[in-house]
């Protein structure tokens, strides 16, 4: 099953919502730590939600490379194959 970028984006935005306490507008440049103020506990829950949604693994090694929303969408697209 292939998904277009817009579809993946929309699904991830829906997953961010419960963690987006300040209702920051999401663009490709939105950073998880600096803009959304995710702490390590939030990151864990959020990553687990993404992994379950797309049935993928995002290892800690891969997480280290992902700073903003756009990078996450690209990573999920890639991991989906």
């Amino acid at each position: 099953m292939t998904m277009d970028r817009q579809d993946v984006s929309a699904r991830i935005i829906a997953l961010i919502e419960p963690f987006n306490k300040k209702e920051v507008a999401i663009t490709d440049a939105t950073r998880f730590t600096d803009d959304l103020e995710f702490d390590s506990l939030t990151v864990m829950d959020f990553v687990a939600a993404i992994e379950d949604e797309f049935d993928i693994i995002i290892s800690m090694n891969q997480q280290a490379e992902i700073e903003n929303f756009g990078q996450l969408v690209d990573a999920v697209m890639k991991l989906q194959g």
Binding site: A48, D55, I57, M60
Partner: protein, 412 residues
Amino acid sequence: MTDMISENQTADHADLFSKFDPLIKMRTDLLSTGVTDPFGLVMERVISPTVAMCNGRETILLGTYNYMGMTFDPDVIAAGKQALDDFGSGTTGSRVLNGTYSPHKAVEQALCDFYDMKHAMVFSTGYQANLGIISTIAGKGDYIVLDIDSHASIWDGCKMGDAEVVPFKHNDIEAMEKRLRRIPEGAGKLVVLEGVYSMLGDIAPLKEMIATAKKYGAMVLVDEAHSMGFIGPNGRGVAEEQGVLDDVDFVIGTFSKSVGTVGGFCVSNHPKFEVMRLVCRPYVFTASLPPSVVATACTSIRKLMDAGEKRAHLWENSKTLHKGLTDAGFQLGTTEPQSAIISVIMPDLERGAAMWEALLHEGLYVNLARPPATPANMTLLRCSLCAEHSAEQVQQIIGMFTRAGEAVNILG
């Protein structure tokens, strides 16, 4: 040449220490309240496994991990003195060069006998045992699946190696299984678990978790640092207690808790285990333990094989303290006592530190644990019981907690 900086000039530099500013501020703020530094305690004299002099006051020790009280065992001390006389103060060398003396082989044999396993490898600390084994056996393209609340030494072992690191929610069997299921076919898998998690004193459902790990073809490493000597019919740990020790590929442990000295180890039945001595860098590139240390460990381990009565008394202590603190109104890390660790949850760091100090004034030492070492950013007063605590001391401890809790307004 013109764009080179003259040798006589110095440029402004970014202070590499500025990254620690938030921590320095947190510490300064805490100490400015006038509270005693919880991380600066000095014991002037140690009287027994359960009592020391701190700030001139006789203090009951309830935060030492000295679970089986072996530190002052006469046989253990005699073995150490003998080894000092016979082998000197230190080896000045690596285990694979000049640092293996007969007491090092003897302690490894004692571990094989204690766990009924074929191979044992002793490291200079428990930290290095996790660091060395995990970083060495899980390589590029392999996957490490581990509990999110794992000890720092496990995380550092992951970071030092080249494997893909995949954490799951604490003690969550389903979350672990999902991750194992998603690992690409053919990749090597290592599941890393702990028997007792030291922050809250809770144990892992190893029986179910190990069965799941095996279903997906993973090798299993269990850190039994906080259970050795105490949990399980022979003190081999939580895996033994739950009847699954045979399915554990690697047990990691330490000499710095129940054994009563310092050092770490890995025991295993893996047929190729001995190659670790050549490829495991934290084993090779460090000096071996002093002969007196391994001699005390060896004697202690052999005595722990036959310590059923002490184990029973320690369980009594754990149950009594857990009930006493619950009845007094404290919020604990577990609803039932699961180990020799009873963790008391504090509302915040400030009141946690105040409570810690009030207990010290009462004559009781516990560990203050704070983020980032703690799960869910909790501040904890962590109590670890000893088989040498008398029933009377445990009652004293409950009284001290109650008085201190009232004094700092943690109890209603």
